[in-house]
Symmetry: C2
Subunit: 395 residues, 2 copies
Amino acid sequence: MILPQGFRSAGLACGIKEKKTTFDLSLFVSDVPCAGAGVFTKNQVCGAPVKVSRERVPGDSLRAVVINSGNANACTGERGIEDAKWMTGLVADGLAVAAEDVLVCSTGIIGRFLPRTPIEAGIPAAIEQLGADSEAFLNAARGMMTTDTVPKQAMRVVNVGGQEIRVSGVAKGAAMIAPNMATMLSVIMTDAPLDAAQTDQMLRHAVDRSFNCVSVEGHTSTSDTVFLLANGASGAEALSEAELGQLQTALDEVAMELGQAIIRDAEGADHFVTIEVSGAAERADAMEIARTIANDALVKTAIAGSDPNWGRIVSATGRTSVKLNERDIVLHINGTLIYTEGRPAEYNEQAISDGIQQNRDVLIQIQLPFGEETVVFWTSDLTQEYVRLNSEYTT
Amino acid sequence: MILPQGFRSAGLACGIKEKKTTFDLSLFVSDVPCAGAGVFTKNQVCGAPVKVSRERVPGDSLRAVVINSGNANACTGERGIEDAKWMTGLVADGLAVAAEDVLVCSTGIIGRFLPRTPIEAGIPAAIEQLGADSEAFLNAARGMMTTDTVPKQAMRVVNVGGQEIRVSGVAKGAAMIAPNMATMLSVIMTDAPLDAAQTDQMLRHAVDRSFNCVSVEGHTSTSDTVFLLANGASGAEALSEAELGQLQTALDEVAMELGQAIIRDAEGADHFVTIEVSGAAERADAMEIARTIANDALVKTAIAGSDPNWGRIVSATGRTSVKLNERDIVLHINGTLIYTEGRPAEYNEQAISDGIQQNRDVLIQIQLPFGEETVVFWTSDLTQEYVRLNSEYTT
């Protein structure tokens, strides 16, 4: 997995985390000023880095993203804001760019001030180590991990007008056992030629179909952030409408792969659940139903128990604000018709249950008769192990 | 615990449930026509009895409520509606009243047709056994139980103008291990003289402060129903404004006691959690915050782990639609200041954690600076046992 042209990255252990060999700092740099956009948590209680970065995007002269793990710099007041700005200043000094062109994320424990000493040594070391090879990219994916068990990277290549354009991204998040919250961070880079408004629009499109379609327990963190940077270093000319469409597809796929990787890395989960809601009049309706099913503790425990419990799924659908009655819902689980015309269908319960038990992936499909809108959503099941992991963590 | 004047009840095992000695039928009868109201699930996928009863309240000539457990008669189409009406007809025939004056509830497995044979024999037997003593009242509380481990009754007496007015209620619900959903049913009776509009208004007031303030996993069932019946048999004259206020307080208390009993009966839960949100500008704001905290899996697992995890609570508050920032929130847990002015307070973590571990009751208080509205909400924690119980049940 490699970076797009004109990007370099680094990741290392600078000593923020207790175990001094665990990576806790990542840096992504564009060799030339680039366009970029960000999407942030909607939680009103948000970390200082969110407040600082939010002011700097969309932008067209961005140069770097610096990320530390081990401390979220959230609920830290004015001093937290100063610390976040100070981090971007350190990066800017080392790269000889403006601090306003550096973005910042922090993830980890909340309510504690950022430890400046390790970061003060770590940032110059990261600049020193910047590289364009796959190892440098992997190191950067590792520096942002908290409870993740695997680094998360994804990449697509699009060929337009004889030029190869790359879209490469990293993410962190393993929602089940997040120390305080399920913080999700992602940096996606491309060497396509885009302006700031284009990055903003394309990033929102991608996030709406990826990171906004994954949920473990429905709790948005104080620090969730996704960035898109585009530096034009591929050498491709300005893209046509059709080419932009190809690039959007690649970007959507990278974001989806990263979002799904977070759910797949959910420790304590036994099943990876895909929920497809089709036939809605509005996309928002399909989204509300998918999200309600995904966050329903009774649905999630049923799946953990390999139980094709149509009652819980149909009832979760009914308790949304989408106007419908029980005859409007057609439910398939793993491709088998389970519920239609207001009644359970004829099916082999044991076979469905065995199918859930024996496979990590489960597909729940809800068909409605109202329109053409479809949403695909991903979640995990709710197991005893999830509860054990989340109960045993203490601040 | 006794019924109000002029009410009789019965409960017995008629054979709907697999184990033939387990109670599964309850009957409540007023000796004279009475005023009554109902509050029903907002779930659009709702049981046939909800559809039938909803048409019959508020009313001023009601005579009886019949309830069966073991079968919810939900997702049963037209035949389900016929079955529910047929049940009320059987009661009406036995009591020589009109079927339209009989209300009906069913709770249990969904998607299966009601078994008519046991009910056909059970209803005349229940009519035969109707009694006004405490045993008859307890039997009726038992006949509506599903996964409840204890029958739930509550009673208050108000003295007005030299007359004693009783408010007596029963409820069922043990949300954690509900077979399909957390169905909650309650019947509250009073011998106060009220008209239909008064019962409707007073019931809504009480439900808003009781059953609407309890949640285990945020899933409203297909069958949730609360009825209030008032037959005037106390002999009290029409009540003054002040006397109506006294009666409302008694009714609120009965409903709160029943609602809390449902949370306390939540199998698999280790803690009974009271969430108090004060200082909100609107009651709806306080309610949204309380409900969001109550349904947050990360907050609930933290409590199961005896962890005073202010980060999860403050973040859950921030992800509501109530406009606020982290400096607006003051958090106490079990009376100790945990978070204020955007930062964690100084407190003894071990002492707080020990306090949670050693007591079943936990009090979470959120103070806001916006107004005078307060909501008190009750929930349980999220334990491994909850997941085990909900996973292992299969349809």
